[in-house]
Amino acid sequence: MFSRLLIANRGEVALRIVRTCRALGVETVAVYSDADEAAPHVAAADRAERLGPAAPAESYLAGARIIDAARRAGADAVHPGYGFLSESAAFAEACGQAGLGFVGPSPDVIGAAGSKVDARRLAAAAGVPVVPGSEPADQTLEGLRAAVAAVGCPALLKPSAGGGGKGMRVIREAAETEAAIAQTRREAVAAFGDGTLYVERHLQRPRHIEVQVAGDRRGRVVHLFERECSIQRRYQKVIEESPAPALPAALRRELTAAATALARTAGYDNVGTVEFLVEGAGDGSRFYFLEMNTRLQVEHPVTELTTGVDLVWGQLEIAAGGRLPWTQSALRQRGHGIECRVYAEDPAAGFLPQAGRIELYREPAGPGIRIDSGVEEGSLVPVQYDPLLAKVVACGERRDWALARMVEALRRYAILGVETNLHLLLQVLRHPRFVRGELDTGFLDAERDALLQPPGGSALIAALAVAAASRLRGDGGRPDTAAAAPARASDPWTDLPGWRLGRP
């Protein structure tokens, strides 16, 4: 096992990794940008090294600085977390050249999975179906028209160099093709400097189901079952669960077999995820390989709660050259796990990320509730990074039971100071379609109006009453720091009409 691990990340995932390291007796080194000097992940680690200014390019994306920090701190390995450099083959390579263990698969596996073309080739080699589509060698209007005709309409046109849904455009009818190509190419050139386009079949409100896999350097591969991640906004997951609701047993077997075959073909040698899109329902379902993520997934706790494993421990064991700590026959799904991502964002304003200071922060707790958070009371949520504040994970014997525990936890997850998506999450959890497990990736868009209803009822009544009580009693101060702040004298306006303190 490693003796001192540098965690090249921030926020909840850095803290998550620290926790496993503590239990393993592995020392941890945090890194931080100037925006994160006082962040919880820095306080939690055994050592900490500054990287640079807040901008990701100068801190968490600055591979050379991270490797320097590892050298300074005497670390013998680097865990990239997710996002940032976690899927950079070049960074994994650089770690190896610097004599540092890299907690992830080998650079060539990362490289292959990261390339759309190579990944599709791997899938095909493993006999895993891919969404019909191609990057036509002939990128003229004619060539692209032929490609659209080959997959049929609706078709999806996307920049080959892109990712994360950026610049994608749906062609509903053949007649739209020409205009769509022109527009998509313009955007592709603007965004990625490369106008090459990719054409694929556009699936109708598919489900996003992914399979957790793990392999070691001895060629052993297991899967740790599936996760349903169909509740998405702007191609980003919001709620994930395992097992996937109403997934036919035969389809689960096919999905997990496909994922293991792909991992085996790729020589996959750490923990990773194979993502699929599933179209149709019941026996008529078909699935297609979407992509392979060569890192710890944000939603990994859902798998940890239902299978009972510690995936970060597995990552470290394998990266340190150890054996895959799990055998397929001993792995079982038990109960139901669900994760809600709590973002600092304003759902009503198109999920606009929010930054600011968390003035009040109270985490709920209870049987079956796990919270992986990266903030605390007083934390500043910086504008530079992903606005994920925390993940609430609930498990229970049955799905309805896990949902009930989740609802109760979110109802008591008091966060004030920045807008969050807590109310939206609760609206989804209580939506009849969601409760019935009728999920697809279009859910959030389709139900948008119902989900964005402003809160009312007894919550509003209680909040109004407490606001009035607190103001009249003049005691609703800021927590903790209140002692340091000069106390406001008696509020002169409370006995006078027409008055409000503050900016107009």
């Binding site: 004030l416 807590l422 402003p454 919550a459 109004l464 609703g476 927590p479 409370t494 027409g498 503050g502």
Partner: protein, 169 residues
Amino acid sequence: MTSGSRRLRVRSGTVSRQVEVAPDGALRVEGAAEPVDVTRLDRNTYRAAVDGRRMAVWTVDDGDRCRVFADGCSFTFELDLAVAAAARSARPDEDAALAAPMPATVVATRAEPGQSVRTGDVLVVLEAMKMELTIRAPGDGVVDAVHCRQGDLVQPGVPLVTMRPRRGA
């Protein structure tokens, strides 16, 4: 309203409700059937019982606003003792005179005689004790007169704006 009660107008986005606090502490929220029973548990935590069912509610002051979390929902409220002027009088449709609560400098006037205004509209902006203070319309109505100008130093209790409620509003 009960004699000796205090009223607050609590606003958030499109929501604007009146909360009446009786001398015995009972809180009546406009639109709620029963008074709400509120107990303070610690600096920022309250317990509110709505229709007999209790819930934890957290709150924190944020400058002039009040942030509240209840039952998975967060709210940012602005509070005015807006309707108290009317309330003090036995005749709720009497003209309202709006005065400064302490010596202050007029930063700007935002109303003109005859102008129609809605609840919460800013009429005058003042500065006192390095804080910016706003005088807002306590209800929908029409401005009768503006008794101050930018730069004036005004004394507490002296009317700055008088307005009358909109009839039949």
